[in-house]
Amino acid sequence: MSINRRQFLKIASISTIVGLGGAGAFDLLQRNWLEAAQFSPDPKALTAKRWGMVVDVSKLKTEDDYKTITDACHRVHNVPDFGNPKDEIKWIWTETYGHTFPGQEDEYMAEDIKHKPFLVLCNHCNNPPCVRVCPTKATFKRKDGIVMMDMHRCIGCRFCMAGCPFGARSFNWRDPRPFIKEENKEFPTRMRGVVEKCTFCYERLAKGLIPACVEASQEAAKKAGTKPGLVFGDLSDPDSEVRKILSLHFSIRRKSELGTQPSVYYIIGGNDHA
């Protein structure tokens, strides 16, 4: 049996397409089973089933308390400061009660609560809408509950920013690098055109360190001889510190009625036991 050139090309091209397609399908099935890791995990790494945070606002007193915390985060993560609200990028910052919990404000509520700053950051929702809407899986939920960003995969469509009900996400409207005050070489800088946000310091957890904001609040508390305003831990572990605090105090979460199940809790009238 002989085949002419035309038939040969036909067979060759069809088998190439089938081969490539088959490999692609196999790859797709495999993809979810593997976990990308360049190194074996550090034995000191902090692990959890669902990382969460408690913000005890009664423990945070002065302007400085907040500034230490937000600065600590923005410094280690190379968050640029453009000095204008249009290009602004922020991972953790403060808002008033009314802006943090829209609709919960009340004209007769205590003045000090009304004007007190509330720390806001990514809520690392258990049911994150940003992950649901991302068309490339560039934002995804890890097994430990952290909602992560892959800045190399992000196409900059900003669907996640529309999807997030908490305004937690920022976009690099322009090259951020010239606006980083002091670059931390340990953490990557970003390029223009990608979305970023708080990652619960996944890079520090991997080395056995607690998140930078929590560490800053602990240091500030130690100096002032009080308890820290931020507590971090495993929400799925009933013996964790966060769970103990939550079992003793009334806490609220931002926009919990939306069903995104935020992992950041706020205690407003906390006392010294917390």
Binding site: H99, P129, P135, F159, G193, V194, K255
Partner: protein, 395 residues
Amino acid sequence: MLETALRGSRKYWGLILFLLSLIGIGFIFYLQQFSYGLGITGMSRDVSWAFYIGQFTFLVGVAAAAVMVVLPYYLHNYKKYGRISVLAEFLAIPSVIMCMLFIFVDMGQPLRVLNVLLHPTPNSVMFFDMLVLSGYLLWNVLVGWTILGAERKGMPPPSWIKPFIYVAIAWAPSIHIVTAFLYAGLPGRHFWLTAIMAARFLASAFASGPALIIILCLIVRKYTKFDPGREAIQTLGKTITYTMIINVMFLGFELFTAFYSTIPGHMHPFDYLYVGLDGYTKLVPMMWLSSILAVIALVLLLNPDWRKNEKTLAVASVAVFFSLWIDKGFGLIIGGFIPNAFEKVFEYWPTIPEAFITLGVWAVGFLILTILYKVATTVKEEVVYDKYGEKQIKV
């Protein structure tokens, strides 16, 4: 058939040159955006989608409106649309291409756009939007080109095209519905979180698209020998009358729900758009212009004498088109972000580069439209008689 687009009058080449120069200017501004980043636009952390996505949303409507011509023709054998079904399909093609370009220019990392295919994510509505838009483009190119090719040869369309025609008809609403779902399924965006969103999209699309087809039919009749037919234009006039009424009614339903319930989150975006919020009023004039145009359009359309007069019908069509262009291009998207997640107002207005990039994309669309319409009208001029034996050129 494409060769017919290479021979044309001085006016034709003038139009082509004009559109090419707009594309050139837009492209230069796009290069600037490409190197600086999207910060060149008026968008911000709070209003993170705006003019580009607004244009995309509006044009999805225009694209799918072809079905308002194709459906009565193929499913109900409404013969008067026989001559213009190709015009409707050929409007869908540049509209979808503009939609895709507006998405593309809105990307922070445009070179990574194929990540959407490399990492297909069925839980994202954007994934489905990509599928339905590319599908719709494909069906319209296939159907439009095949039908026109058959007409040129004086043959009935081949029978294999029939299933594709039906698929294209059923497919058309999907591009609105899926685009509406981009917005309507997001928690915490009160303005968009409404089940009537998809219905509103359909109503406004079936008004703005046919309105543009009316305008294009009138232009084609003026500048070529091809006559789309008075009755076809009149029937389209009736279509936009009904769909515009439905569209305005749907907006009224939204206003009722927001202001009778007095739930602040539902009222605030409407407040911002129509009266201003916390002293911020940038979009108020635009939104009132949209409302006034809608009223003018309805007054002209509801009066049968005015509707039957092609001059007033043309004015009404232009009013419908621009009213809905403002409503979708500005109001719908920007209103969704103001106030923001913290109930704060941060305003948006397009910048000059953003406006020129937008104009450039529109020019790409109109260039493709011009070329396709040139091909279609030349074929129709050559054929002289339509499928039903009636003369389709001006005497």
